[in-house]
Amino acid sequence: MEEIKLSAQPEHKTHQVLFTGNTKDYFGIWTVNCLLSILTLGIYSAWATVRTKQYFYGHTSIDGHRFNYLATPMQILKGRIIAFAIFALYITLSTYSPAMAVAFFLIWAAAIPWLINQSLRFNLRMTSHRNVRFGFKGSYLDALTHFVLLPIVGALSLYIAMPWVMKKIDTYIHNNIEYGNKALKVELSAGRYYGAVLRCLIVVIGFGVISAIIAGVMGSFGDPGSLGVAMVFISLGFNFLAISLLAGIYQSKIRNHIFANAQLEDVATFESKLDTVEYSLLLATNALAIIFSLGLAFPWTKIRKAKMLAAATTITLSENAEQVIEVYRESQSSLAEEAANVFDVDISLT
């Protein structure tokens, strides 16, 4: 052995996250997924999900090792069938008997914290890197506190406490993530959340002022009939730009903040340098492209976004990255994940 250790500190190496997918390939996958799902009245959508997830996971790599999506189509199909049966029951009940629908809704509301946890758990357990799975260890009570009680507190405070609530929610999600036997730790600052929300507010006010001026100018001439239609379109486009800009500001600031303050004990630290303006423009042009292409640009928008997110991200690994031990757990059911999907409970990790 010639290698000489210069210090007792483990060696660290910074890696750029790579995304190698391209629009052409994903376009083919997406269109075939759509057609086969329709032709099989939805059954193929379980296979479609696996192919889509694996496309994005497998094309994302760190230090030459790609991510893997481990769920099998049958797992997803089973979960989906049960979730679908519950959904069909709910729709039927709610159209024919509003009272039964209320009862169902209450049961559903009680199950939401559990569903959120299960959904996060399933998605993370089905993700692996270097043959070690991710995991999630949140409890029902914690989820109830963070996803139900705190948002109520936020609303009662007239939304003044909302940024702090968002910080608590992100902390809950990320502090419960595991990679093998290593836990992720984040230390988030409420100040950053207030900063991001404040920037969003300034944009909202700015847009309000500008649209008031435009409305004033347009209102002073022209005939009211055709102006009405023009105004509808202009304000729609405006709203749309404002929403993309808001999402861009908030998501980029918060993502950068979370990555900078997260670490996988002894294994990895993260950095995200997502540019707010670039990211907002990407979201706005993506939404426009989807609308004007009648949906056909969807694969292009997804690939573009994945590329930008990967390019903005670096990960510093210690030599311990090879020492993570897989933790075996009970097998996972995709029911909650599918129920969450079909009822449109969206939980996304920033």
Binding site: D25, G28, L41, A48, S97, P98, I290
Partner: protein
């Protein structure tokens, strides 16, 4: 054939450079360090073959081997794996999918789902219809209705028109019910509930005091909604549509978002436009049959529009608002009634 790649042993994040060789039904792995392993090919699990990614293979104990070459595919007899990947790269298949998908969706949502709804709404038991109507009425009453301010005499005039209408239609009086309410939310309007209850607002009665036959036309239109079971059809349609959507698009990202926004709302609007036309037709037919001038129906619409403060002139706006409005362009309905 030597396959270069990386072995990820089960249980840890280690990665070992390896080469693999497939012989008949065996797979031999040669570690960089010289170690050798042999696996039964039949007991392995192949990963999804995805464009631009090499295909992984998982051994019984959970270790995985990932070839270096992104085009590499393991030999397999499973046709699904090969076929799907071929389709995804085939220009004609992709073009076909782009053209066929929207056509099929149109067929399912605008043909199959309504057809299914029409087939099933007859199966809804009467008790459910009754319950549905009463519960909806309860909710509407709580939310947007107040007790009527009409005098007993004013009510009596309308009740007389109502009794006369039911008699003309030879419908049993005990299956229908007329109610009066004051409502700022509805303004001058009337609506029907599936169990045969018809609500008229004070504003409507007051605005039509000079035109009793126009008010009768409105009552006939609402009875038409009940007789044609529109609420139940609408409910069955909405339920079937939502279920079909959930089934097919459980997770087709993008596609569902594009369609959910526009498709399902247009679908519902269209359904209710057809229903309004049907109820109009019902009212007009019976008016003609019993010697009431169809122009009274046009008069009723004009009064309602006037009360709502909408100028007929504004109704000429483009096709957009026409397609998206629940009521078919009121102007065309008025013209239709006048020409009936």
């Amino acid at each position: 054939m030597k396959i270069l790649g990386t072995l990820y042993p089960a249980g840890s994040s280690k990665a070992v450079t390896c080469s693999a060789v497939v012989f008949d039904s065996k797979l031999m792995l040669n570690h960089e360090g010289g170690k050798q392993e042999s696996y039964d090919f039949a007991s392995t699990v192949l990963g999804e073959p995805i464009l631009g990614q090499s295909q992984e293979i998982t051994f019984g104990a959970g270790s995985r081997f990932l070839p270096e070459d992104v085009k590499f595919r393991w030999p397999t007899k499973r046709k699904r794996l090969k076929l799907v990947e071929k389709l995804e790269q085939n220009l004609f298949a992709v073009l076909g999918a782009i053209i066929l998908s929207p056509i099929l969706i149109y067929g399912i949502l605008f043909k199959a789902v309504p057809e299914f709804a029409v087939q099933t709404y007859d199966l809804v038991p009467n008790a459910v219809v009754q319950e549905m109507g009463e519960q909806s009425m309860f909710a509407i009453e709580k939310a947007v209705l107040e007790p009527t301010t009409l005098s007993a005499k004013e009510q009596q005039i309308v009740t007389k028109l109502w009794d006369d209408s039911l008699q003309k239609l030879s419908l049993p009086a005990d299956q229908f019910k007329l109610s009066f309410y004051q409502s700022d939310f509805f303004g001058a309007n009337a609506f029907a509930l599936p169990h045969g209850q018809i609500v008229v607002t004070d504003d409507l009665v007051k605005s039509m005091q000079e035109h009793p036959l126009a008010l009768q036309a409105v009552l006939l239109h609402e009875i038409g909604h009940v007789e044609k079971q529109h609420s139940i059809r609408m409910a069955a349609q909405a339920a079937a549509g939502a279920i079909a959507f959930a089934m097919i698009f459980g997770d087709l990202e993008g596609f569902a978002e594009v369609l959910l926004g526009t498709g399902s709302t247009i679908l519902q609007q269209r359904f209710s436009q057809d229903m309004e036309k049907e109820a109009d037709e019902y009212a007009l037919q019976h008016m003609k049959q019993h010697g009431i001038d169809p122009k009274e129906f046009a008069k009723a619409l004009e009064i309602i529009v006037e009360q709502a403060g909408i100028e007929l002139e504004n109704d000429k706006e483009g096709a957009w608002s026409k397609y998206l409005s629940t009521h078919p362009s009121i102007k065309s309905r008025i013209e239709y009634a006048n020409a009936f």
